[in-house]
Symmetry: C2
Subunit: 265 residues, 2 copies
């Protein structure tokens, strides 16, 4: 499968600490060697770095680890291919413009028997993954339902939650989605998050021997949420999401949450 990493923060924050843990799983502590990518928002603009090489060997990943790019919303992914070959066009995160916003998305899981049920017209996949097709389908649905961006974000949350429940019928669908302001997280089986705020403490990465003292890196007003497939630190309390649970973060804070639903993952 793959691993996801997301961040939502109330001040531009660098994700070097978490990213350093994630890239180890791309060939060192984990088997996710089929590419990696990361998108950083800066206002309505965003920049994506993607590479079909393993993250642990990538020159571009080294740049990201050494050159802190600060952002309020980040989506990242390391890939272990199932559907779609190892290539740049199959490397997450995927992005499209809708309503004058960049939408960025990454998926962990695998869908089956979806060919008749998940199709898209306005947004067309460039690669061959089930993940990108599900993203195009989601945006098609959003564009059909809302001609312009809904003024009430709750409408967006509820509609997205319904569509993700639909996609979950076809298999494992853990995903992160952002437009730069909101970060949405939908869980089928593996997704968790942590919100860090004052008083900040220290944390140690599970995947490599790095310790950070967040107090030295932050102000007392910073609120930073990190979302990941599996906890990246072992000395903090991560919230594990349940089957069919969905969360919407805005500038670090949990803005909406949908409870897990009955049923298997």
């Amino acid at each position: 499968m793959c691993e996801l990493l997301g961040m939502s923060a109330n001040v531009p924050t660098d994700i070097v600490f978490s990213f350093t843990g994630l890239v180890e799983r791309g060939g060192v502590t984990g088997p996710h060697t089929d590419g990696w990518g990361i998108t950083f928002y800066d206002g309505k603009g965003c920049r994506s770095f993607r590479d079909p090489l393993p993250s642990s060997q990538s020159e571009i990943a080294k740049l990201i680890k050494n050159y802190p790019i600060k952002s309020k919303a980040v989506i990242s992914h390391i890939r272990q291919a199932n559907r779609g070959g190892v290539s740049l066009e199959n490397t997450h995160p995927f992005s499209r413009e809708l309503w004058g916003y960049n939408w960025t998305y990454a998926h962990n899981g695998q869908l089956s028997d979806y060919e008749q049920s998940i199709t898209s017209k306005r947004f067309v996949p460039i690669g061959q993954t089930d993940s990108e097709l599900a993203f195009c389908w989601l945006l098609d649905k959003l564009a059909q339902r809302f001609e312009t961006e809904p003024t009430c974000p709750d409408q967006l949350f509820e509609y997205l939650n319904q569509q993700c429940d639909y996609l979950r019928q076809f298999g494992v669908f853990n995903m992160l989605l952002s437009n730069g302001e909101y970060v949405f997280a939908y869980c089928t089986n593996n997704l968790c998050w942590i919100t860090r705020r004052a008083p900040f403490g220290k944390a140690k990465l599970i995947d490599t021997d790095v310790i950070i003292d967040f107090q030295k890196e932050t102000t007392p007003f910073d609120v930073v949420t990190v979302i990941a497939t599996k906890p990246l630190t072992n000395d903090e309390a991560w919230h594990k999401m349940g089957v069919g649970g969905m969360a919407m973060f805005r500038y670090g804070e949990l803005a909406r949450f949908a409870e897990p639903k009955p049923g298997d993952c």
Copy 2:
């Protein structure tokens, strides 16, 4: 204004030599300090690096100069802002998906009095530049004219040429556009190209003291076209495009050309 750089090649080729000359114009030999960007295609996939910092000072530009990314189609731009502030969302190249292809575009020039005449609906600008609006308008027109990718590229060339002629009514419109296979270049006043093929020689950059011996970097079968606002070398014969001229390159070769049209730039 800004400066454009494009490449079309029949084998994956690195653009480090030309890019090294271009970035000097972003703060050293030229005044284009309001951001820069570059997009490299790899099959149908592409990766873009964009930065609102001057290219001559950018850490990400340093990576591009030191880490050769090979590609058959490249679009690059350095910016001197006129319409739209200095920000990531106003930094070229811009990209959108149409017909399941990434389309990448960069513009040099400025448009005026276009607000009533250049509007777009399906593709909506994320930033505030006239350049991105013109790109969205172009793709809107393409999507309206062709439901799927035209099977004959001549149709695409002719239709794009007409639309670029229309945009040129509103000011200076030099642009580069690519879907990874074709690189289109449209000229209002400043655009030129060079096609390098065997027997390869040496060349010296105008903007910095770098000489390359292409024979050492190539095979006898390589064909590489570089397109730029102004010649990047002073010991080679660049073709200067005329007012309203348009060229379509495919894998290094000039595939179609429209002659300059009567009228001022």
